[in-house]
Amino acid sequence: MKRLLLLLIAVCTLSITTGCWDRQLLKNTRLVYGVSLDKVQNNHLLTTVSIHSSISSRGGPSSPTNDIVSSRGDTVHETRRNIERKISGPFSASKTQFVLLGNELAKDNIYGLLDIFYRDPRSQLGARVAVVDGRAEDIIKLKTKEETLIDEYIWQLIKTEEQNTAIPASTIQTICSNMFDSGHDFALPQLRISPGKKRVELAGTALFHGKQFSGITLSPSDSTLLLLLADQKKKFAHFTKKVKNSKKETPFDYVTFNAKKAKVRMNIDTNQTPLKVSIHLNIKAVINEYPSDRINRKGREKALGKKLTAQLTEQANALMTKLQKANCDYFGIGRELMAYHPDTWKKLRWETAYRNIRLEPKVNVDIVGYGIID
């Protein structure tokens, strides 16, 4: 009897307190899909968010819409508060899929900007980060693009390009590890509005050093090669190279291939000064398009492979120069030194030493397939 009474009291108190405290009804929250951050005059921050919702007409099928709101403030959280004043329900960044950073802002310390994402337990650490060439706000303000909402558009774009090994798959969390690691730098995809056409496109990959954007952007083709060299190949990695020199420039001079398999070996030679780092990339290529001729002829495969090998090695060399100019240790050579050559690491000042080491990439292409025709 006594026990039953106790139970009753417990259930009653529980029912009364139901819904107090931390309740955050899904019904009322305004879910943010994408965020952009920009620097405006007086060092203010400008946050623009795309709030995604689907409106259902009473039991009928629902159609998605988005609401673009922007506001300024001194910290990211303050801008959020200011945005919350302009919308109908509590602001929730827990479903944020991407964060776009304006060019200007990215050149500052981006850790500071993302701090709130790391600190807030409800935030989404899997969100992608991208740099925008120009103002990030402009992209979100496009609102819809070809029947697709801009937020879904960007999200799908980023995801597809990651699969194509055109941009590194970096989330808020993965870049955090690199930001804290003095021997490893990262890169972020860079987007831009294509001139005139009011369309978002991928500009390439923005190279970072430490917590700052170095200002140097790699072209999409270069980024693919960078990712292959860093052993981060995803599903596809396409290259198009000129392999013939006709007198008249025609599209038939080119070949497009997919790196089906890519193997990387990095070697650090600590005996030499400056340090010599050689990176060997071995690509097993499948030809996607070769308009000029048949391939399956004696020696043709090998010859083609050789041409591609030469071209890619050349491209890789140019890439290394760019990386060193940006001071972006994308391959984590510093980390490698710390782990396997701690004595060498202690002698070096990596901050300046990285620019002077000898990076020697070597790419080898073997053609292993050419589609369903010869």
Binding site: L14, L26, K27, S53, S94
Partner: protein, 509 residues
């Protein structure tokens, strides 16, 4: 305190109690005996008597009109007596069960059991002649424990038929039946059936002790017995398995458990049981073992769905919407858009509605029950969403919960776990996942504490015995289950010896 006082107080005997148990000597005078018997029944008009002459003396045959088989009385008792006229009664009548007594109260009890009493002038010997009329329905398949293949027999209301069904399955002299009469007014016969030599004697002693100590007016259903003998009445979990299937009962007896069967009720109470007993069905053993295992696993899954799913959903939409993946969250959110109630209330309303429908459908004849199902399920379900009172997703959640609660082969367990869902829902609405988790922890602690006739209820999980998992949430081939489960503490564990020896011998050739 007060209750304890009342219990210890000496019980005064109410006048309506069945009859005096003490020995009453029959008198020599026929007339006196007749008055005595008639008074005992307060001249109830279904007590009939027939005057006969026997050995030249006046004799009387008493019987309860409605309890005896008239044909039997006429053909096997009255006719032989009339045609012979004299001799020894035992040699004349065509009745198997004849008892002689000089105790009138025993005779009165006999009348109530469908026996006839024959008494003669100047004789204090009463003859009790068996003429019971076994009226009752025929053996049918129990409606709430249907199976696809296998035996379709079910218990009926007659105790002897039920015992027959068990004897038929276990042809063994060690199958022991012990009768206990319970209920001072209703005088109900209860049988305890077990396999002597296998079942733990302490268990039988305990069962008998608990049954004997029942001191009540009447025992109407096995539910009464269950309430009196179960270990913890305040537990939401049933602690005795109620089944109407003789094959299930027999299988349990052979595992070393005891069955309590009551006169007038087509079900057996099996003790001791574990939590997993309620998830076993004879169907598992009619199918091949992997199919049986799959369905067993589905049933265990249904347990989790029933108690956790609505609570989980409430926790997610109230506290942790971060958990829902991107592609789903906007669908859920849009279905919630115009709903005026908080999710906990939504769930409660739907659950109560469902219980109402279920309760209404049970009592009604089948055609009307179907109408109720359609009106309730389709029309209300649809209208409630159209009117934006309840969200689409909640309807799905409640429906899935209800369906999975009905998967459990045992009706009591099914209701028990459906009710357990409610406190978890409240927990979820208070503290989200942590509320649920605390609810589950409390349930688990309770399960670990609970015992059924001295055996742990949550075996073979707590205490852990991996050997017994072979028949818990999966069912392995019977030749792998070569030991009885330990929970009933049978005297012999081994139950299978090298049945597939042919395989090894065959390979040797």
């Amino acid at each position: 305190m007060r209750r304890r006082f009342l219990r210890t107080q000496k019980r005064t005997k109410p006048p309506y109690e069945a009859f005096p148990r003490e020995y009453i000597k029959a008198s020599i005078s026929l007339e006196e005996n007749k008055t005595h018997i008639e008074n005992a029944f307060h001249h109830s008009q279904d007590v009939m008597h027939r005057e006969l002459t026997w050995n030249g003396k006046k004799g009387l045959l008493f019987f309860l009109d409605i309890l005896v088989d008239k044909d039997k009385v006429q053909d096997d008792i009255i006719r032989p007596i009339l045609s012979a006229g004299e001799g020894k009664l035992e040699e004349i009548v065509h009745i198997a069960g004849i008892q002689k007594t000089s105790d009138i109260s025993k005779a009165i009890t006999g009348l109530l059991k469908g026996q006839c009493i024959f008494l003669t002038e100047h004789d204090d010997t009463l003859y009790l002649l068996e003429a019971f009329n076994a009226l009752g329905r025929s053996i049918e398949e129990p409606a709430n424990e249907k199976i696809i293949r296998g035996s379709h027999e079910g218990f009926v209301e007659s105790l002897s038929t039920n015992l027959y069904l068990l004897r038929k399955r276990i042809k063994n002299p060690n199958l022991t039946v012990k009768y206990i009469t319970l209920g001072k007014t209703s005088n109900t016969r209860v049988a305890v059936v077990y396999l002597h030599g296998l079942t733990n004697p302490q268990l039988i002693e305990e069962v008998e002790k608990r049954l004997q100590s029942i001191s009540a007016d009447s025992i109407q259903t096995p539910g009464y017995i269950e309430d009196y003998i179960e270990d913890n009445s305040f537990s939401p979990f049933p602690q005795a398995l109620n089944t109407e299937r003789p094959d299930k009962t027999a299988a349990n007896i052979i595992e070393g458990r005891a069955a309590i069967i009551m006169e007038g009720n087509p079900s057996a109470l099996i003790v001791p049981v574990t939590f997993f007993s309620f998830y076993q069905s004879p169907d598992d053993f009619n199918d091949r073992w992997h199919i049986g295992s799959f369905f067993r696993a589905v049933r265990i899954l249904s347990f989790f769905i029933t108690i956790v799913l609505p609570a989980f959903y409430i926790a997610v939409v109230t506290f942790h919407h971060e958990v829902i993946p991107l592609d789903l969250i906007f669908n859920v959110k849009s279905s919630l858009q115009h709903v005026p109630f908080p999710p906990i209330l939504e769930a409660m309303i739907m659950q109560v509605m469902l219980e109402l429908l279920r309760e209404a459908a049970i009592r009604l004849p089948t055609p009307i029950a179907q109408t109720i199902g359609i009106v309730g399920g389709l029309v209300i379900g649809n209208a409630v969403v159209q009117a934006s009172l309840i969200s689409n997703t909640m309807i799905i959640i409640v429906a899935v919960t209800a369906i999975s609660s009905f998967v459990v082969p045992s009706a009591e367990m099914s209701t028990a776990i459906r009710l357990l869902g409610f406190p978890l829902m409240i927990g979820a609405a208070t503290l989200g996942f942590f509320g649920i988790m605390f609810g589950i922890i409390l349930i688990l602690i309770h399960l670990c504490k609970l015992e059924s006739f001295g055996t742990p209820y949550f075996a073979p999980f707590a205490p852990l015995r991996i050997k017994d998992w072979k028949d818990a949430f999966i069912r392995l081939p019977v030749w792998i289950q070569n030991e009885r489960p330990l929970d009933a503490k049978p005297q012999y564990l081994k139950r299978e010896w090298f049945s597939r020896g042919w395989k090894r011998n065959g390979n040797k050739k």
